[in-house]
């Protein structure tokens, strides 16, 4: 009996505050914009009983979804988001893997310190760290100042408010998420496997490619998911660093909701984003499950 | 083996008036389709030091966990002092367990670990303190009372686990491979300590082990198990000298097994085991039928080894010739692996009464092996 209570409490909480909201979003995405509070109709009025429910259901339609397909903005934004998220994930991997590898190869006394150094930015406010780049990337910012001073360029580069800034921002903020899973796997790697590979004829590089990388596969996959999935729906980074030129779906959703006050369309945008993400999310969960089973 | 002190023979299992403390009555335990315990019945008496012996997976740990209350039988009853303990949860049983990993609470001192169970009982403060001090004295841990588990050695942790499990003076103490983590010397010393404590406190001990030497040393009775069943339940000497099956004979100690056919000759049984070789002469209280397939089992130390053919006598009723293929030198004894003409290997063990250089036998020597008619026993085929 007590066991059931233990299960029930977090379960019900999550059902109520995680699952049910999604159903509501789905419902709203099938509704219409209305000049009312709340700004959508039909509004489910339970007091009207069964008849009310039937009336309510009959008024739902897929108008918003059709709207999404007709207006160029939306599918362009989805594509742009996919492109940015994918590319950022790859760049983060290219930056993060050597870092994780270096940490794993460092002397044992150094590792806790290095780990702490990677985690510290993670504990610092994400907003502040993105903000820091605003200063660096602007026309009068330090990066431009440095490049001008070095003589590499003649006129300040436009970095801020371009997709480039968004890439930098995503890689920067999500780097710890890529480094940590890879590091934790590399750290457990048995040194003697590499020695065995070399003993059997591999060069250092080949041993790395044929032994280290495949064994780190799980960490790499986890890291990629931890970057890709949230990056797809990112709002803050494109908003502060991307400017109006950068199309990302998270920003579109926000603007639909707050600026246009069009909740039904915003909901439809969210549902489509969710549908795009379902497969990566399920794969991520399966990867986590396999990881946990492998560890026990 | 737990030899009883001079004069009194401890064997409650032979007394028909003695009521057992623990009774397994047709107990079966399955995990899904895997049957861990198969219709097992067993009586264990008070003050016994009882050993459950067998290889991994034989079900001995499952039996112990059922006694402790962490598993429930799929069918059958387990009784403690006559009462069915099936519905009683582990925290309410008069049974305590000493875990294989010791399971000492790392955040509590040695003193607090021992006091833990007493506190749960709500024992009065001065009784509690006295009892804990008594346990510390019993296990010689007085100096380490304030330390935490990670601040003491492995052997000391084992004693804390023992003290903690005895603190509540349970009717039954379960020991799950208690000496496995100790090195050999420590293990031997601790075995005798355990027997001492068991006798002093008068608690019934049930020990689970895969180490047959351990079981033989400490136990008053040993239950040899295999695949969820009891194969033989007996005192250590009878298990060793009179195993009831090839499995038991082979599991405990070293043994030679020769297969053959029985030829009844009065009160002796002749075993025809090889063409052109005289039959092995043995005795058996078991009734074998003529020409029945039998296994003759004899311990290596019961076989004498000679460089020349010995005279036939009672002691040398059986004589065979062979060649030394291998010698295992163990310091105090040597085991000679001798090959007989038909290919059968026999192991003969003798004490090294002479130093190696003066030893009589060496590899490839032709030797004679002999044993008496009562040196081995016959087992079913």
């Amino acid at each position: 009996m007590r066991r059931l209570t233990l299960i029930a409490i977090p379960y019900l909480w999550l059902l109520a505050l995680f699952l049910v909201p999604f159903l509501i979003v789905m419902k709203i995405s099938l509704s219409e914009y209305a000049l009312s509070i709340p700004p959508y109709s039909p509004y489910l009025d339970l007091s009207a009983g069964w008849a009310g429910l039937v009336k309510f259901l009959s008024q739902l339609d897929l108008e918003n979804y059709i709207f999404l397909t007709t207006d160029d903005l939306y599918w362009k934004a989805y594509l742009s988001s996919l492109k940015i998220a994918t590319l950022s994930t790859v760049i983060t991997l290219l930056v993060g893997f050597p870092l994780a590898y270096g940490m794993a190869r460092a002397a044992t006394e150094w590792r806790p310190t290095l780990l702490m150094l990677v985690i510290l930015p993670f504990w610092t406010s994400f907003l502040i760290r993105v903000y820091a780049w605003m200063g660096l990337l602007s026309q009068e910012g330090l990066i431009n100042q440095l490049l001008l001073w070095l003589g590499v360029i003649n006129a300040p580069l436009m970095i801020l408010n371009t997709p480039t800034a968004v890439y930098i921002g995503i890689v920067y903020t999500y780097l710890p998420f890529m480094v940590l899973p890879i590091y934790s796997i590399l750290e457990k790697l048995d040194e003697s496997l590499l020695e065995a590979a070399e003993d059997l004829g591999c060069s250092r590089l080949m041993a790395f490619w044929l032994v280290t990388v495949p064994l780190a596969k799980n960490g790499i996959i986890a890291g990629c998911f931890l970057v890709f999935i949230p990056a797809l729906g990112e709002f803050v980074i494109p908003s502060l660093l991307g400017g109006s030129k950068t199309l990302m779906i998270g920003k579109i959703l926000w603007e639909e909701f707050f600026s246009n006050r069009d909740w039904p369309v915003a909901s439809a945008v969210a549902i489509v984003l969710l549908v795009i993400l379902i497969i990566p999310i399920l794969l991520f969960q399966r990867n986590q499950q396999n990881q946990r089973e492998a560890d026990t | 083996m737990a030899q009883p002190s001079a004069g009194c023979q401890f064997s409650p299992w032979t007394d028909p008036d003695e009521k057992p403390l623990i009774q397994f009555q047709s107990v079966t335990k399955s995990f899904g389709s895997f049957v861990a315990i198969d219709d097992l019945s067993l009586d264990i008496f008070e003050r016994e030091f009882f050993a459950l012996l067998g290889p991994s997976g034989c079900g001995k740990t499952t039996m112990m966990r059922m006694l402790a209350g962490f598993e429930a039988p799929s069918s059958g009853t387990i009784r403690l002092a006559g009462d069915d303990i099936g519905p009683v949860p582990p925290n309410k049983r008069a049974v305590n367990m000493m875990f294989q990993s010791y399971a000492l609470f790392p955040h509590l001192s040695v003193w607090e670990n021992i006091a833990f169970g007493l506190r749960r009982e709500g024992m009065a403060k001065h009784f509690l303190v006295d009892r804990v001090e008594e346990m510390l004295r019993l296990t010689r841990l007085e100096k380490f009372a304030r330390r935490k588990p990670h601040q003491i050695s492995g052997g000391q942790r084992q004693r804390v686990a023992l003290a903690r499990s005895l603190a509540k003076a349970p009717k039954l103490l379960l020991l799950d491979e208690p000496l496995g983590a100790l090195d050999k010397k420590l293990r031997q010393d601790t075995q005798f300590e355990l027997m001492d404590i068991q006798e002093k406190t008068g608690t019934t001990f049930v020990i689970v082990t895969h180490d047959q030497e351990e079981a033989m040393t400490v136990a008053s009775r040993v239950a040899v198990m295999d695949e969820g069943r009891l194969i033989q339940v007996d005192t250590p000497d009878r298990i060793y000298e009179a195993p009831n099956s090839v499995y038991v004979a082979d599991f405990i100690g070293d043994v030679n097994i020769v297969q053959g056919r029985a030829d009844l000759q009065g009160d002796r049984v002749h075993i025809n085991w090889a063409e052109g070789q005289p039959p092995i002469i043995g005795t058996s209280n078991h009734n074998f039928s003529q020409d029945q397939s039998v296994h003759f089992a004899i311990r290596p130390e019961k076989i004498s080894i000679w460089s020349d053919r010995p005279e036939t006598s009672d002691e040398t009723a059986n004589i065979v010739k062979g060649q030394i293929i291998d010698i295992a030198y163990l310091g105090n004894i040597s085991t000679y692996h001798v090959e007989l003409p038909n290919g059968q290997m026999l192991k003969a063990q003798t004490a090294n009464t002479h130093r190696i250089a003066r030893r009589k036998f060496t590899w490839d020597d032709t030797v004679w092996l002999s044993w008496s008619a009562t040196g081995g026993i016959l087992l079913e085929g």
């Binding site: 505050l17 870092l99 044992t108 820091a132 660096l136 602007s138 | -």
Partner: protein
Amino acid sequence: MKRLSWFNVTSLTLGFAFLYLPMVILVIYSFNASKLVTVWAGFSTKWYGRLFQNEAFLDAAWVTIKVGLLSSCLATVLGTMAAYVLVRGGRFRGRVLFSGMIYAPLVMPEVITGLSLLLLFIGIGLDRGVLTIILAHTTFSMCYVSVVVSARLVSFDHSLEEAALDLGCSSLEAFRLVTLPIIAPAVISGWLLAFTLSLDDLVIASFTAGPSATTLPIKIFSAVRLGVSPEINALSTLMIAVVTIGVISASLMSKRASLRRHHEEQAAERGQE
């Protein structure tokens, strides 16, 4: 055999430089007397002074801390329960859904979570305010807590709980007296994680906050949309300083404790017996 090749050393240096440079620059400029990034007008702490006089910021900070403390405590309790269910719960109907609901929020884009929660609150007629932010933060934080605590529970020696039961504890007592004290470090880091996430959250708070409740991230965001602001630099530096001190001291304490423990264990094996 830990040899760092020149490649390793370069990647470590560049990697950490990349991570830390922006923050270091920020800290430096918070002491810049000039508002502009281009000019260094001398060392000054005037922006800190201005910050502490800004009522709006102070109010928002207070709300943020309140929300952070309440949501993190609630999230820790719920998350620990969820972790226990995941690791020790065995099979039960709907376990797959439960496990999915725990891991999904970890990767879910915040705009989706924020939007869905807001629509829920509207749907049930709950007024947006501090309470709704707390509910929202608790929900996604508990998932992080659950991941941290369940990682610890998986390696927790189950026989310790059995020993406690064997010695007379009820299940609840066993948890309280044995399990909890031992997994406490993991629970505390879960709590810290929940607290940090709450303090730092912008998107979800924006959706679920009402007109009456403004959190610090919301305030910061509206300020920086317009561009770089020296007061924000000062605020950022303060936050970075607090986090740095916290992380370094926690790291030092844990290092010292594990070193001491190691020595004690070695001494015990060598010395006695």
